[in-house]
Symmetry: C2
Amino acid sequence: MKVTALAGGVGAAKLVSGLAALVPARDLSVIVNTGDDFGWMGLYICPDLDTIIYTLAGLAHPVNGWGLAADSFHCLERMRLLGCDTWFRIGDRDLATHIFRTQRLHEGQRLSEVTAAVCSRSGVHVRVLPMTDSPVPTHVDTDRGTLDFQEYFVRLQCTPRIFAVFYSGVDRATAPPPVLEAIGEADAVILCPSNPWLSIGPILAVPGIRESLRATRAKTLAVSPIVAGKALKGPAAAMMSQLGLEVSAAGVAGLYRDFLDIFVMDGRDQLLRGQVAALGLEARIAETIMDTPASRVSLAHALLEILG
Amino acid sequence: MKVTALAGGVGAAKLVSGLAALVPARDLSVIVNTGDDFGWMGLYICPDLDTIIYTLAGLAHPVNGWGLAADSFHCLERMRLLGCDTWFRIGDRDLATHIFRTQRLHEGQRLSEVTAAVCSRSGVHVRVLPMTDSPVPTHVDTDRGTLDFQEYFVRLQCTPRIFAVFYSGVDRATAPPPVLEAIGEADAVILCPSNPWLSIGPILAVPGIRESLRATRAKTLAVSPIVAGKALKGPAAAMMSQLGLEVSAAGVAGLYRDFLDIFVMDGRDQLLRGQVAALGLEARIAETIMDTPASRVSLAHALLEILG
């Protein structure tokens, strides 16, 4: 079975690593959000791509949800002494990825090509595909003004109240052909349990991707990032409420109803099955909390079973 | 007494740190070679400026002659795994300087301004002045072809035989006004014991600098980088021979005779005094080997005595 995942950061990386334990690398593709990408001191940083790659390479920090395991922060500490902004924590080993990527982009390579190079040199054979090669930075309109995504997410720790999310320049972006092929030629497409506005939303907003999802012959399944009315991590639940939506797994299901076949919720949400079914979707239950390496594989296994 | 030093890398840094112990920071300027500057992975690296600044800040590696004390190499190690050239050893803390400088240059600052910022944030109050704000990369014609300076110096460890040294673009370079003022308004100008072709030569080749040295009312003194026919460090002696010159302190003195007043040699070279005097220079003897922190200050003290 050829599987393509749509992925944001940490939750997605966990599920993708579970899938990678079960699906041969040649049959697994991951389309990754690049809306969080940003520039820092002239370096081009792609947090979600890096989280996915580091996780698949077995190099990810086991707790933080960003960066590499056992990294040091000597460069960052001296940058602080030089007066630089250091609220985005970049480790010494992590920095190598950003310097490498920035240099390759300056040389004229596309982000897809650089990503493939980082993967192959990190021993990652799963196809990791940026959603687009163009910068499409996510911005949020908040009660503290319009903010860059990382400013909202990292510096202000998601405390501002959000009125709207937009993906700057997305109208002019294009999906690289391998992204559309990964959707069109898959047997199954899995939307990872990632934030609908900050992780999955940017991917769906790239012209051609949502249309491909509507057109694909693949079974399309989403895993709810909301469990019992709460986000496992990050601001998804708060955002739903701030954006005037029902804070529930069913609320998320509604966002994808135009292309989705199956919506998978945690056992704690089984009372919402009828509500999801009323959207015209197949509602399924699984243990969606991935708090151990084994539970990543279990969830991946359950999804593959559901997808048949 | 206002003192201005012309400086290359390690030997110069030692003497400048000796001078800084005796001359108030407001009276001490250092004009630094930038011919060694090079690009690596999109970063703009200035080895001589950094060696001078790190030494003055008390942060220099005590043995290597480059980089910071107690630095780590975690970023470089991962860059090696990513397939990057890593023969130029850049430590994690050192990297911060290069990222900071590169970003400021991209923002449109001049190298002089960035250097002043690095100094002030490193607690260095001596005026450290790049010889020019334009890139003037040193190249060497060798029996292995024309090489970038760092390729010759670091990667090939000075093993190729040199036919000629040239400073690319130096005709179009200009000396920043503070450089010419530092020469014109000094009471004494000291050429540090640095390589005549690779360190002092590029400085003298910047249009206006040699003329300022000829015109200045300052006493002008050079310390020989050659002691008893050998260079204390680096390829100076081999280069003299390859370039067809007499390998001796007196051979170096001849290179500066058009503007120099005093030439200081090590005690081991006192038999050369007559030869130097015959060039029209005042020949003086001092202990020029700086193998301890105290000997840096002793040499600086001896030079200031000679300069009166």
